[in-house]
């Protein structure tokens, strides 16, 4: 009965609903976009009403929120954090820098396209995106989760070699535990 396809469907539906309405965000707030997170969380926009709240550690988090540019140095940490998160997990690219490098597009030590290194589920455009945009982005994410389409983690697992190759290109001395999710 448990492995029945229909019951599996029901279970999936319920879990997706739960995942959708309970998004614990691990904010990687090294970029300048992090300044937009406090207004989003506090009383004016109050993301918590949508079930979005901060998570303290990657183990507990569902969403990795990359706020802004990633230097080659911080990328390593981000990868590490992402790999420590538990499935299902999602990545939200926040601001233009994660999409194409934004105003740092020609900097020698930032990465331009985050998607080459981590599977981004939702990008939030803007430099910086306002809280409304953030909420809208999360709304999009919720929608994707509800439909079961936010499968960045699966993509990452499947294309791990490609991602690794990209990552290793940026990070010269690679010392990290194997990712065998």
């Amino acid at each position: 009965m448990i492995n029945d396809k229909n019951s599996q469907k029901i279970v999936d539906f319920i879990s997706n609903w739960a995942r959708k309405h309970s998004i614990w965000v691990l904010g990687y707030g090294t970029g300048c976009g992090a300044i937009e997170i406090p207004p989003t969380m506090t009383s004016r926009y109050d993301a918590e009403r949508l079930g979005i709240r901060g998570a303290a550690t990657p183990r507990q988090a569902d969403v990795l929120l990359i706020t802004g540019y990633l230097t080659t140095k911080t990328l390593k940490r981000v990868i590490r954090v992402y790999e420590q998160m538990q499935d299902p997990k999602y990545v939200v690219g926040f601001g233009s820098c994660t999409i194409n490098g934004g105003m740092y597009y020609d900097s020698y030590n930032t990465i331009n396209v985050l998607d080459k290194y981590l599977p981004v589920d939702v990008y939030i455009n803007g430099c910086m995106p306002r809280p409304e945009a953030v909420l809208s982005g999360f709304g999009k994410l919720q929608q994707l989760i509800g439909e079961g389409k936010a499968n960045g983690a699966t993509k990452y697992k499947e294309n791990l070699e490609w991602y690794r190759a990209n990552q290793k290109k940026v990070i010269p001395n690679w010392v990290m535990p194997e990712y065998n999710w």
Partner: protein, 613 residues
Amino acid sequence: MNYIILVVFLGGALLTFFAGKINNVLQDILFLASILVPASLFFAYVHAGNIFNLTLGGIHLSLGINAMSWLFALIVLGLGSMAAFYSVSFMKGKERRGYFYFNFILTIMAMTGILMSRDLVSFFIFWEIMTWSSYLMTVYNGKDVQTVGIKYFVFSAIGAYAMLMAIVVIHSINGSFMIEDLVRSFPEMPVNMQILIPVLLLTGFGVKAAIMPLHVWAPGAYSNAPMAYTSIFSGALSKMGIYGMVIVMVSLLSYVPEGYWFREVIAWMGGITAVIGTLWAIKQDDAKKLLAYSSIAQLGYIIVGIGIGTPLAMMAGLFLAVVHALFKGTLFLAVGAIERQTGTSNFREVTGLIRKMPWTFVASLISIISLAGIPPMGGFVGKWMLYESLLTSNHYLLVIVIFFSSTAAFLYCYKFLFGFFLGQEEKEWANVKEAPVLMVVPMLILSFFSFLLGTYPGIILKPIDAGMQYLGYGITQNHLWQTSVIFNTWGNQVVLQPLLYSIIAIFLFFLIFLTIKSFKQTRYVTTKDISSSGEVPKEHENLTFSVDFMQPFMRAVEPVMRRQIDKYYTGLANGLEALFDFMRKIYTGNGQTYAIYVIVFVVILLLFKDILF
């Protein structure tokens, strides 16, 4: 039979000592035999009835046991046998094996002798044998002998001499050294003797039981002795003090009006001991020291129970004594195993042994839970009875003190487990192996018993009941305890069996839920794979926070910790030595001065001749 046991012990000790010159294996076998043979003889043949009399040096000595001493003999010989098995493996490849075995057997012999003594002189003789053999074990390592060893012996000697004084005073009043005569004649003694004798005796016993102002020797001595021995030292040898106290408190003080105050004072001293021991235990970074202070604290509880002296309290005290022997014995053995496998017992150095020494960990875990007094382990039953007895006998402040101590005990309990077994698994200790079977099995057996007693305390409450009946308490069975039910005198109860089953059921359910692998892709990662701000910890990075672990708590209790009794004793000792050093300057080295002394002596005598003669 009684003396045969002692003779077998003694002969075994000598044989074992000299067998070391021939063959190590032979020595091991002889050692085990000379512990186990008398032990089994004891339980097989010694009954309360048989008494062995002997007159030595004009003093009537008498050996025999009673229900009370049988209980303590259970502790001594039970723990002794376990520790003996352990020792064989523990001592493999160490030097001074003969020395170790000899003193080990001698200590057990002395303790058995103490329990068999029916008169004070043989009690004292065995007491002193126990003292010096344990002293020799304390200095076994040759470390800190002039400080720790001397301190231990000096305190022991103070206690023993106080006891000796009491013994001779009793003899001068009674004309007899028999304990029975003392008990019989005590109520008729003059009041000052009724005060003096218990004070002296309690000083003697208090030293071994490490009661508060006399406890300063214990941390050093416990931690300095080899661990295989310390388990006896703390588990059984300190109980001899308890045994003596039981006799004094119950047999003597119950019958005199001053007894009440004695009991109160002793109980409070026990309570303060418990607090001090606990606080200092929290501060230690060395497992041996930690356990040593913890022993002091635990003995404090036992003393509280005995001090209060109501049937429930006495039962609690004795039960705790048994359980303490079990869990503290195990813990010291565990530390010994760890020290043997890793070469250190300091939390600063060793971490993450849980996957290397799983069985040692299991034994330690059960014992620690028992120590903390958490159900369903044996420690809980003892603590429960202690609290209930304090409550039902209106010791409301004392119960707070005890509770504080036992809550604070969680801190060091956790520190012990965390420091050794949990935390980061460092590469340095990657090759540590589990201790040999002969070391692990005794630990597991002992911890199994402390688990068993948590649900079926009746097993050990039965002999305790017998012992208490011997001391003059009424029957406690069925209104204070049943096999797995404990009552207090207000009629409240704890039914242990269903509680245990519930706990096991819940535990197993959730353990399976959490452990099962196929469910939710549960998998193991190393302790280096932790979320520390996205960093990959380097091998040399120290992520083990077991040093200065309880700093916030220590800051909170800092005013209490500032005063150390030890410092006062050291100051006193140094002051006295300086005084003595000054006094001996009277021997100036000048012959003429000596001659003048003679003349002065004569003149003084002539001047005071009317007073002197």
